[in-house]
Subunit: 438 residues, 2 copies
């Protein structure tokens, strides 16, 4: 079983279990299977019907309130009224593509680009993180003339055919395609930078020797699906140097860490580096489907010589209005500062639990993106069943959480950024209850 | 110069022309170039800033009203209040992915699937037509075990790397990749079915002989970027038979003809055939970014064995609400019937103009998707400069229109579906004025 299947299996509802459910739920599940077929995947042993969201909370059909520790798309809070009204107002006024001038799009592009270091001055708006990474890879190939990509072993970068090839967490077969090399996720301790760059250099050399050549390293700088690795800050800098020495590009996939998640605007900023291409998605519009690619003008120009690129929905003024409202809320509500401060408090609480419970093998992360490993207290081996157990018991306690990592044994703690100390306290208490009873 | 560049060049604003513009517009264009770089493409010799849309009209920054004969994304009308309020209400309530149960998504899936013939009972929701075609191609490869695709010579199916390979209208190089075969667009007259299927069979044989094998024929059944070919109804049936004889799949790309455009719900229905996979995009949410793939359960299951597929924004309840509202409006306002009736009236008017003006070489189409060729009256050769002239003069007369076709000489007439006889009359009068003065 590959990493992907392990991670999916953690939360996946399997049809065979449904005999015990009440008739209404059984009927709903049967209808879902009949319409969405084999592509239907639901969270939890007992799936939840959601009807409403607000801030850090989701509400099910029976009115129960869940504390959301998982969803990073509604990053400034579920159904944030400022974002909702921006979408509603712009949708009522104008929704059109970018071949006419529209001020919302120009204003948003200017404001977003001001968040990037100097050489990154061009923006292409897309609809999803997948479209963004698909485009970034093609830009890298056009610029370098090479075809090889390097990613971490449990990486996820999106769902197009091109991007699935660099998303081993979606593989069902064990092997990557010939143009892709997998390297280990960063170590949790020791010489993190040195180990990472050593594997990277070997992979680059291997791609070069193969004749495929080295186009780009693609990293989600918080290593979300690998199990969340943030420290020590700066450890990716030698990787950037190695990439540039080899004539390749560094693609920072900010779909997960971007827009304040780690207590800074961008995940790459934690490493003090300037990527060649930055890709964005999920939190960009707080759920309005939008993504983006930011790069150097000369790289974009090189790509545009090779192919005509147009994205119908990309850069529509409703997306721009949603994106602008997200930036407003991040600033006005101090969400980056909150991610840093509340994230630190939460991490401290989790480290406290680690002293109390031997089966917690590690606590890592930055801002409001934290990972907590469950391991066998004696052998230290990854304990995926324990992660699965905790997720399903927390669901009964009205807390939503998921798992990550190559072995699926890492709790992935990633609440909306309006998560406050009182929510952290509540979560820590419930987690302690679960661990005491386990 | 490839087909793509010819089509783009028709409407593309080239930076060198801007010296004559007023300072405000110059500044806006400079800012756009600085932010969107080489990927920025604007319509018209003199670009337009749009600020508002309603029904079949767009309004520029000076308040001028344009009759929109071009935009098919706002298919039920620009900023339709029913769609806008559905989006606003659902965004205020809940916007989440499909791993929880949500009723809006289940209801929409059931309602949409009821529009398809029996074996097509599974739906995967995506965010764009590009994502839909990317997924459809991978399903076809998984099902057939083959890698080859056949498309028409000026086809456009989307912007991911995989889909760009079957979109020759985006190529800058003349040649298709090894796994892609290009066949001629349908003929405008004569043995349309016979010619089309003969080229198709040759391409299938060529793919099979190459060892790549034949996975699928991908057709936009109104042949939008090829220049709009609709007649005789049914001419694609022999193509379907040839595809199935060869063990391949027929992928109907309904991004252009779908949702009532041709006077029927689906473009493929005009040909009396049942595709193996149907893809949807642009008009599905009237501008809310959404797309979909409909296929047989066993095909989807086969694909899901090979790869994990999840689409974060795909199937969010706001998209479902938008999609549901679009179906409401299509039904309540009788837009399919209107597309058939007003489209027929418009086509009749254009055929009348053809008798009056020798430079009109042909008029074709179905419903509210019509093509009008400009040709040299003596030689019959495609007259692309005339199409470009007409487009830019109509813009001065506050009518928005574009071009299509391998030679870029075909006016692409594709207004929102709430286009009524009075709009047709107005357009025909303005077009006559332009042709008289030309």
């Amino acid at each position: 079983m590959s990493a992907a299947r392990q991670i999916l299996a953690l939360n996946r509802f399997e049809g065979g279990d449904k005999a015990g459910f009440e008739a209404g739920l059984q009927e709903r599940l049967a209808r879902r299977e009949a319409t969405f077929g084999a592509a239907s995947v639901l969270f939890y042993e007992q799936p939840i019907e959601m009807v409403r969201g607000h801030g850090v909370h989701l509400y099910d059909a029976a009115g129960a309130e869940y504390l959301d520790m998982y969803n990073n798309v509604p990053s400034v809070g579920h159904s944030h009224p400022h974002v909702v009204s921006a979408i509603a107002a712009q949708a009522a006024r104008l929704n059109i593509h970018t071949r006419y001038l529209t001020r919302p799009v120009e204003d948003y592009a200017t404001r977003l680009l001001a968040q990037f270091p100097a050489p990154l001055t061009n923006l292409v708006m897309t609809c999803t993180g997948s479209e963004s990474n698909d485009l970034a890879m093609r830009i890298a190939k056009a610029v370098t003339g090479a075809g090889g990509f390097i990613v971490t072993r449990a990486a996820y970068h999106g769902n197009t055919e091109t991007v699935t090839a660099i998303s081993p967490s979606s593989f069902t077969a064990a092997a990557a395609a010939a143009h892709v090399r997998l390297i280990s996720a960063p170590a949790a301790s020791g010489d993190v930078a040195g180990q990472f760059v050593a594997e990277l250099r070997a992979a680059i050399a291997d791609l070069q020797a193969s004749g495929i050549g080295f186009a780009a390293l693609v990293v989600d700088s918080i290593f979300s699906s690998d199990g969340i690795f943030a420290d020590p800050a700066g450890f990716l800098q030698p990787a950037l140097d190695a990439v540039h020495e080899a004539g390749g590009l560094f693609i920072a996939d900010e779909v997960q860490p971007g827009f304040g998640r780690t207590g800074m605007m961008w995940g790459f900023a934690r490493h003090g580096l300037v990527p060649d291409i930055v890709t964005m998605g999920k939190p960009m519009g707080n759920g309005f489907p939008m993504g983006g690619v930011v790069t150097r003008p000369e790289f974009l120009a090189r790509f545009c010589q090779e192919t005509g690129y147009f994205n119908t929905f990309g850069g529509n003024p409703v997306a721009a209005a949603a994106g602008e409202a997200v930036l407003d809320v991040i600033e006005e509500e101090g969400l980056i500062e909150n991610a840093a401060a509340t994230g630190a408090l939460l991490q401290e609480g989790l480290l406290g639990l680690q002293k109390e419970f031997a089966r917690i093998g590690g606590v890592r992360g930055a801002g409001l993106f934290l990972g907590l490993d469950f391991c066998d207290p004696d052998s230290g081996a990854p304990d995926q069943p324990m992660a699965s157990h905790v997720i399903n018991v927390l669901r009964q306690k009205f807390i939503l959480i998921g798992a990550a990592g190559l072995y699926g044994h890492t709790l992935k703690i990633r609440p909306p950024l309006c998560f406050r100390p009182l929510h952290a306290g509540w979560f820590l208490e419930r987690l302690r209850e679960v661990l005491r009873a386990a």
